[in-house]
């Protein structure tokens, strides 16, 4: 459980920084950057879950 929480935190930190790096100043850029951050978070968590399921079936 602790490992899962630590991974979720890691994904949150990475997606936050990704969103900030994508942000390009203007106020109209704020929402797309926020959206990209959410996509990255969901992508990382989804990829980890997918690999977890595949590895569980293979082992």
């Amino acid at each position: 459980m602790f490992q899962v929480l630590s991974f979720i935190f890691l994904a949150f930190a990475v997606s936050t920084i990704w969103g900030i790096l994508d942000f390009d100043g203007g106020k109209n850029e704020l929402l797309p950057s926020f959206r990209i951050g959410i996509y990255i978070f969901l992508g990382l968590v989804g990829m980890a879950a997918g690999f977890g399921i595949i590895i569980t079936f293979l082992s």
Binding site: A13, I17, G25
Partner: protein, 139 residues
């Protein structure tokens, strides 16, 4: 108004931006006037690196057939190099905590190492972002 903004950006020193961004995660952005961004960067990177330090047990080293001496040393060398980009707070605390790592939770030791490496790599990206802002390539 835009000319005024450009003049402010021109007055900012590139060396100062680099130094602050290296010493404090988000320091470069703070210096360039991006206060909210610097706060978010500082919170994320510092929390990541300090939690990593709390769990840290050792960096990844190749095992088994891959544990060739020079190959393993390259991995450890890269990990230690990246660790230097975690900011001065992390480096000071890492010096104090070098012999007092939390142990006992299975799998957490390497996760700690991964946190530290990723925080360092993200801070390298942030330093490059601060450079782009300082050079007026980005807002």
């Amino acid at each position: 108004m835009e000319d005024y903004a450009e003049k402010i950006s021109e007055r900012k020193s590139l060396l100062m931006t680099f130094t602050l961004a290296f010493l404090i995660p988000g320091g470069g952005h703070f210096y360039l006037g991006k206060r909210w961004r610097s706060l978010a960067i500082f919170s994320a990177i510092t929390l990541l690196s300090l939690l990593g330090l709390q769990f840290f047990g050792g960096f990844f080293t190749p095992q088994g057939e891959m544990s060739d001496q020079s190959f393993a040393k390259v991995f450890v060398l890269l990990s230690v190099f990246v660790q230097l980009f975690n900011g001065i707070i992390y480096l000071i605390l890492a010096g104090f905590k070098s012999s007092a790592h939390v142990r006992g939770i299975p799998g957490m030791m390497e996760i700690g190492g991964t946190f530290i490496i990723i925080a360092g790599l993200l801070n390298i990206l942030i330093i490059m972002d601060a450079y782009d802002i300082a050079m007026n390539k980005k807002g």
